[in-house]
Each structure stands twice: as C-alpha cells, then as structure tokens.
Amino acid sequence: MTADKFDFLFFTETLGMPVYDLKHRRIGRVKDAAIVPLIHPARVDRFLVGAGASWLSVRYDQIASISLSDGIKLSNEKLYPYHSDEYMLRIGRDLLDQQIIDVNGRKVVRVNDVTFEIKHEERDFLVVLEVDVGIRSILRRLTQGVVPPKWVRKVQRPIEPNSIRWEFCNIVEADPLRRLRLNISHDKLELLHPADLADIVEELGPAEREAIMGTIDSEVAAEALSEIDPRMQASILEGLEPEVAADIVDEMSPDQAADALGELEDETSAEILDEMESEPLEDVKELLEYDEHTAGGMMNTEAIVLPEETTLDTAMKRLREHEDLLENTHVLFLADSIGKITGAVPLARLFLADGATQMKDLSLDRLISTTPGERESRVTELFDKYNLLALPVLQEDGTLAGVITADDVISVLRHR
C-alpha cells in the first residue's frame, strides 16, 4: 500500500478517539464503528460514541473531518442514542477477534485489526480497505492505548503487513436472518475449488459449517462435502434439515453419497433418502447394500458402457452426450448383446484409430475385473499389479455392477 501515511487509519486507532462538536467541546470517545452492508459494503456508516452513561450514534454524514492527530469533528450535532440494530456490522463487536474466510488465500483467519482509508470529499468518511491478521497487527493491538498512536505506527512499520482486502473477506454467520440483514453472500465461496472449500469448512465450528453448506449452491456443496473427512460429513448432514441435506446428496456421485450416508445413523439417513430424487436414489440405495470395505463399497455405479461393435465415431458422439460423467472416466467398457462385459478401452486409445474402427478392436487384451464382495485389500493389490486406472466390478452374470477408479483407491490407502 503506497498511500500517504495520513490517508489511512487503523480501527484500533479509532477506538477511544475523541469526538468534538461544533464548538470544539469533546462529546465523548469512539467505542465502536459500524458498517451497514445493505447500504454500502465498505463505508463506515456509524460511529458509536460513549458519552457518559449511554452511547450515541453518529452518522457518517454528520462528520466534518477525521484524523489521527485531531480526532473526529462533527458537522451536525443532532445525535441520537445508540440502539442495537440487526442490520449493522459492528467492527469491534462482530469482526474483531472473530474468524472470517479469506477467499483469496483459501483459508480461515482471525481478525486482529481493520485498516480504513480516509476519504476526503465534501466531508471525511472512512472506507474499509483490508482486514489485518498476523504479527504486525498483533503488535499494534497490544501497544494501542499504552503508547501514543504515532509511536505505535513507528514501531509496527518494520514488520511485514499481513492483510486481506475487504472484497476477499467472507464473514461467517450462523443465523440465517442475520446473514440476510448483513447482506452476506457466498458467491465467492462457490468459485473455490471443492477441496479448498472443504479445508475452509473443516476449520469452522459446527454451526458455521452447516450455515455455509446449507446456503451455497447444492452442486458446489456436494463436491466440497465429498472432500471433507467422513465423520465431519456425517455431522454436517445431521445438522442440516433433511430436505437441504437431500439436495446436496442428490448432487453427489452415488458412491460418495453412499459413503456419506453410510456414516449416519439409520434414522437420519432414512430421512434424507426419503427426500431424495428418485434417479440418484436407486443407485445410492443399491450401493448402501454393500459393506464399505469391499469392492461394492468402493465402486461407482456411473460408467459408460458401449456395445462392442460401436464404431469410434459413434463412441465419440455418445461421449459427448454424457459430458457430466467424463471427468471421472478413464476407460470405456464394452458389452455384448446380453450385457455381459467383454472389453475395456482406455480413452487414450481413441486418439490412435480412425473413425470406422470398432471399439472391440481397441479393447485391452485381457479384461481384469472383480466382484462386489471382493476385499478392499485385494482390490488395491489388483490396481497396483496391473497398473489399472479403472477396475470394473461385475455381477455374477457378467454385467457391470460398477467401476472403481484410482482416486477411490488412493483415498483408501491414505486412510489406512
């Protein structure tokens, strides 16, 4: 930040700052500052001033000038007593020492101090610039009030600042009504990678966790949820209303949904299953039948199966129709006329042939497969021995029950 040293102000400096009326008599000292997000997301709308026994509320347009050396000078003395207001975000009470989400850094941080910019227009007002975390702000907090403000600035100058711009700060609030009143939106959270969002959610307390998972887009929530530790998954799903939980589980891939639901008490998972849509419901119910430490418990029921005579051109067309499955597809499976799986074609092979080639000619020489009841340890052995990316799980009649992919195996190995 290259601003001139008198154009910015720290919240800890505003605390206790004297407030003067038009006749330059001191009315009181600043106790807190508040933003009203619905009116303006960053401007300090109110100062709460302690005058005798009660507090007064000073609006931003009643202030003539603000400065570190001279305090706050009013332009209008018609002041009203302070009444707590649900639409106000009070910096001292609601922001300082609380946890917020740093969307840019993708982590949860604790607020030590806030930096304002002093805007000089027809009157002075403050705008929140950034939130300070880190050692510099700790030093400032500790020495403020003990040592004169100008000295505090000098002392903290050599230390690297550690701040997050206000636009990237997402406030965490468990109460939905208050979230509305503070205009808290989680749009930026939805743009994060699910794994990063999962990390953030894991660091918050239970009420805040559920607040976030319940409000963001279900698809994003589903992806994030599948990256979260299974026990915490269960705790989150239990804390949400069944309809909301079902919305999220609907968006998860069936094997992840089955894993998540499997951790829950029967009663709770039954409630959620009741609220789910029928299409994902069938797959999930099927997978829930299997023990989690068997092939059946690891597999996913979504896979692309093509008749073995399909030509490459047709195969490509079919792939385009199933775009949503493509992310986790490494191998296409081939079936004969009665549905028995006869071959597997790694996607890379599709690049080497011409459009008329039949899929069965591109198939791997040997089909490695397993059964739903196979032990977890044997499955991981197969993956290692045959260098597999995907392992088909076949029913007794040879039809495809599901597919186990490498990421499932990695998860299993890590949790051993």
Partner: protein, 414 residues
C-alpha cells in the same frame, strides 16, 4: 430386551470411537511432578494422605468434563474461545503465562526421564538428549491417530504402579480405612502436603490439551454422553494409579517415614521388596515423563498459535507454519537443555512449575466457567444450576488451595 442390548452395543461402539482425549489427559496428570508429589506424600505420611484422592477425583472430573463439553459443543479449542470472548490482550497475557508455566513443566518431565534412567545408571547427558530427539520426532512425523494409539498404550504401562504397590505387601486394611477417613492435623508439613496434592492435580495445560484433543477427535454433541463417560473413567483410573503410588511408597517407608527429595529415592526404597518393584516404579516414571514430554510442547504450540491466529498443525510444513514449529522446537530444546546443565536446581524447577501453574490456573478455571455459562455458545448444553453450584465450589476450593500452595512455595523455597 434385544432393543436394550442393541443400544448397549451402540454405546460401546461410540465409546471406543471417542476413547482417547479424556483418558489420556487424566492419565498424563500423573506426570513426573505428580509422581514426585505422591511419592513424597506416601513416604512421609504413609497411608494418611489417601483420603484426599476422593475430593481430588471429583475436582478433576468437574474441570475435565467442562472442557470436553465445550470442545464437543462448540467445536473450538479453549484458546479460540478465550480469544473470541475475551479479546486479544487477555489471550496474549494468558499465552505468555502458559508458555512460561509449560516450559517449567517440560523441564520437570525431562528431569523425570533423567531421574528414571539414573536409577539404572544411565547418565542424564545421554538419556535426556535422546529423549528430546525422540519426543520431537514423534509429534512431527506422526499424525494424530497413530500418536493417540501410542499414548493409549502408554496409559496401559501405568499398571506398573499397581504391580509395584502390590509387591510391597502393604497394610491393605490401613490403606482402605484411610481412603475414606479424612484426617486433619495441625502439622504445617502435613497441611503443605495436602495442599500440594490438590494444587498439582489440575494443571492449566491439561485443560487446553483436553479441549483441543476433543475437537481434533471430532466428537460431536451426539456422542457427548459417551465422551463424558470416557472422561470420568479416565479421572477415576488416574486416581487409582495415584492410590497405588502412595501405597507403594507407604509400604516401602513403613518403618521409617522420610521426607524424600526425589522420586529416585522412592524407587530405590523399594529394593527390599525385590528388583521388580524398583523396575516397575522406574518404568512407570519413565513412561509418565516421556508421555507428558510428548504432549506438553505440542499442546503449548497449538494453544498459542490458535489463540493468536498463527498457522499451526503438524500436517503443515515448517515454512507454512513457522511460529508453530519454532515454538515447539524451542520448548523441547530449552526444556531438555536446562535439565542437562550440571548442578541445575531441578527441585526448584519443579516447585517453580507448581507456582506458575498455580498463578495461571485461577484465570483459566474462571474463564472456563464464564464460557460454559454462555447460552449463545453452549445452547442447551449450558451448565444446569445445580452443576454450576458444584463447579463454582470446586473451582473456588481449587483456586484457594493452589494460591495457598503458591504462597507457601514462594515463602519457603527449600
């Protein structure tokens, strides 16, 4: 009937799932300083001190239960809660005291390692550095689950004290009678001993560790009933171990009650009852000291980083969480280093750790009670009025005893 069995089975499953935090914290209460205090009590006063174990257990249960409840309901550690409710300045002050108090405790643990191995003739210049390195690696290279398993195993080794207690063939009738009959004498040494027993029971760091461990374990309010049971079981077992430590020393010194200066004296006094008794006692001391030496520095680093908002966690690299790793390493290095300095007054260090703990504990206990009574934090898990009364009484008594101990220790540093 089958429904009852099914529910019982479920309770057992959940209990095993949450087993860890309460148990470990309670057991590690019998660390090197604790063993020294109990040994002293038994050696000088034989079976008389046993009646204090019951009130001590109750006090321990009250304090532990509150912290584990807060951890399960809020999902946050004690430093986090103190920071959020009492602000940065208060947190900073507490953290400084915590680091100092814990540092002296760490010194006491490494001193315990040195003492235990000294009994077998291993010089402290060898035993302490090796222990320090081992301790450092365990936390840095292990993850919480595997380390917890090791700790639970260490808890089992405490059984050695039960064995030692039995080997000295104590007067069981005396022991039993004294366990329930309060004895008060106007002997200043006796009073000091009583105060020391209560004063060293609850250390501030135990509260921070327990709450953080409960959060780390992922205990939710749903599993809290089993978690509370686990905490209570841990506290009772720890008192059982303390019972046997006192009994072992009482049995060893039955003919010549002595004011002992170190746990080594106590161990050697068991010689007439067989080499095994000495071995078991020393093994117990070594186990307890290493155990506590593993937990203390780590817990301190976590608490401080949590409270001040620094990155923390052994899953992060040194670059990602520098303050955490530096603090952790320095605590071990300085702690072990002080023990190695020749002729360093170790007994003074143990007494100093008691004093610092004593100064910090009142704040921690009072904060705990304030926090646990906040409705917006604890919702329906807030303290019921009757429990609040018990909690306040316990806290006031413990604070009183601790301040008394602090006062006495400052006035007569032996």
């Amino acid at each position: 009937m089958p429904d009852l069995i099914a529910r019982f089975k479920r309770h057992i499953v959940v209990f095993l799932a949450v087993l860890g935090p309460g148990f470990i914290t309670a057991m590690v209460d019998n660390d090197s300083g604790g063993i020294y205090t109990y040994s002293q009590a038994g050696a000088r006063w034989l079976y008389l001190p046993l009646w204090t174990l019951l009130p001590i257990t109750i006090a321990l249960i009250v304090a532990q239960e509150m912290c584990s409840r807060m951890g399960a309901v809020t999902g946050k550690g004690l430093s986090d809660l103190i920071r959020e409710e009492f602000g940065l300045r208060m947190t900073f002050g507490i953290m400084i005291l915590l680091v100092l108090a814990n540092l002296t405790n760490i010194v006491a643990e490494f001193a315990g390692v040195a003492t235990a191995l000294d009994i077998f003739g291993v010089s402290k210049f060898i035993s302490v550095p090796i222990a320090a390195v081992l301790v450092w690696f365990l936390a840095v290279k292990g993850n919480y689950q595997s380390v917890e398993k090791i700790f639970l195993f260490a808890c089992v080794i405490y059984v050695s004290y039960i064995a030692a207690g039995i080997l000295v063939r104590p007067d069981w009738k005396e022991a039993a009678i004294n366990s329930v009959r309060p004895q008060l004498m106007m002997d200043s040494g006796y009073i000091t001993m009583l105060i020391a027993m209560v004063g060293t029971t609850i250390a501030p760091w135990m509260q921070f560790y327990l709450q953080a461990a409960v959060v780390e374990k992922g205990v939710t309010p749903k599993e809290y009933r089993e978690s509370r049971f686990e905490v209570i079981v841990g506290c009772i077992l720890t008192s059982v171990i303390a019972f046997f430590i006192i009994v072992a020393c009482a049995g060893a010194y039955r003919d010549h009650p002595t004011d002992i200066q170190s746990a080594k004296e106590a161990a050697l006094a068991l010689k007439p009852f067989g080499e095994y008794a000495v071995l078991l006692f020393s093994a117990g001391l070594l186990n307890a000291s290493v155990f506590a030496a593993c937990i203390l520095p780590l817990s301190t680093a976590y608490s401080v980083c949590e409270g001040l908002g620094f990155e923390s966690g052994v899953s992060r690299t040194w670059n990602e969480a520098p303050i955490f790793y530096w603090l952790y390493t320095l605590l071990i290095v300085i702690g072990a280093g002080i023990v190695i300095i020749p002729r360093f007054p170790l007994v003074q260090m143990i007494l100093l750790s008691q004093v610092l703990n004593g100064m910090l504990l009142p704040f921690i206990l009072i904060f705990m009670i304030i926090l646990i009574n906040k409705k917006n934090l604890m919702h329906e898990w807030i303290n019921p009025p009757a429990y609040n009364a018990v909690a306040w009484i316990t806290v006031i008594v413990v604070i009183g005893m601790t301040l008394a101990l602090t006062g006495i220790t400052i006035r007569n540093p032996q």
